[in-house]
């Protein structure tokens, strides 16, 4: 996952919305297209534009929208701002892209960690996060910390 996409994940999480990363591939009359994210909460697919990616994909994005008109789809900046269309088409330009999202990159020392998780397990985590008014990422961090601590305690018990 690119850092710009991670910024978008954090932006959506702050709004209490979970995302699936590259969840599905759509067949187009010319090739295939895989949107960056699907958000089950608003039933919308998202393409995150960090400055150039969507520019190079613009023909594909327009084709996707024409061939799947019933699917909710948005091209957004990493900060979540929707990129408008002109006359129903994306005319993305390399030079006019907003790069201000780069200022939002975290400065503290943290690492990106990604893993595949079943829908069922994800929903359990998301439900617990909701109950505790946390983001899903925060909930996962808490659970990992708690369980790793327990592993240590179990080992101590065994050695005693």
């Amino acid at each position: 996952m690119f850092e710009s996409e991670q910024i978008f994940v954090e932006h959506m999480e702050a709004k209490g919305k979970a995302l699936s990363y590259i969840p599905i591939s759509f067949k187009l009359s010319k090739g295939t297209y895989r949107p960056d994210f699907y958000c089950p909460d608003d039933d919308t697919f998202y393409e995150v534009d960090a400055g150039t990616t969507a520019y190079y994909k613009k023909d594909k994005l327009n084709l996707f929208e024409n061939e799947y008109p019933d699917i909710k789809f948005k091209v957004v900046t990493p900060g979540g701002q929707e990129i408008p269309k002109v006359g129903g088409r994306y005319f993305l330009s390399r030079t006019k892209m907003d790069k201000s999202w780069k200022e939002k990159l975290p400065t503290n020392k943290s690492l990106f960690f990604g893993f595949l998780v079943s829908n069922e397990l994800y929903e359990k985590i998301a439900s617990m996060a909701k109950k505790q008014s946390r983001s899903v990422s925060s909930m996962v961090r808490v659970l990992i910390k708690k369980e790793l601590k327990e592993i240590k305690e179990e080992e101590i018990e065994e050695t005693n």
């Binding site: 991670q6 969840p23 690492l111 617990m128 899903v136 369980e147």
Partner: protein, 53 residues
Amino acid sequence: MKKQIKLIYFGLRIEEALHAKIITEAKKQDRSASSVVRRILTKHFSRPQVDGL
């Protein structure tokens, strides 16, 4: 649409220290780091839940 998705790629930012702990645990268990995290989460939810945690 939601039911068609069987697996979700989930990414998050974690502190360096926590990342190091996961890697250490993965080496100990001879598993991948992502497998360790999945097992940790599955193990947690397989237990009876008390006070949410």
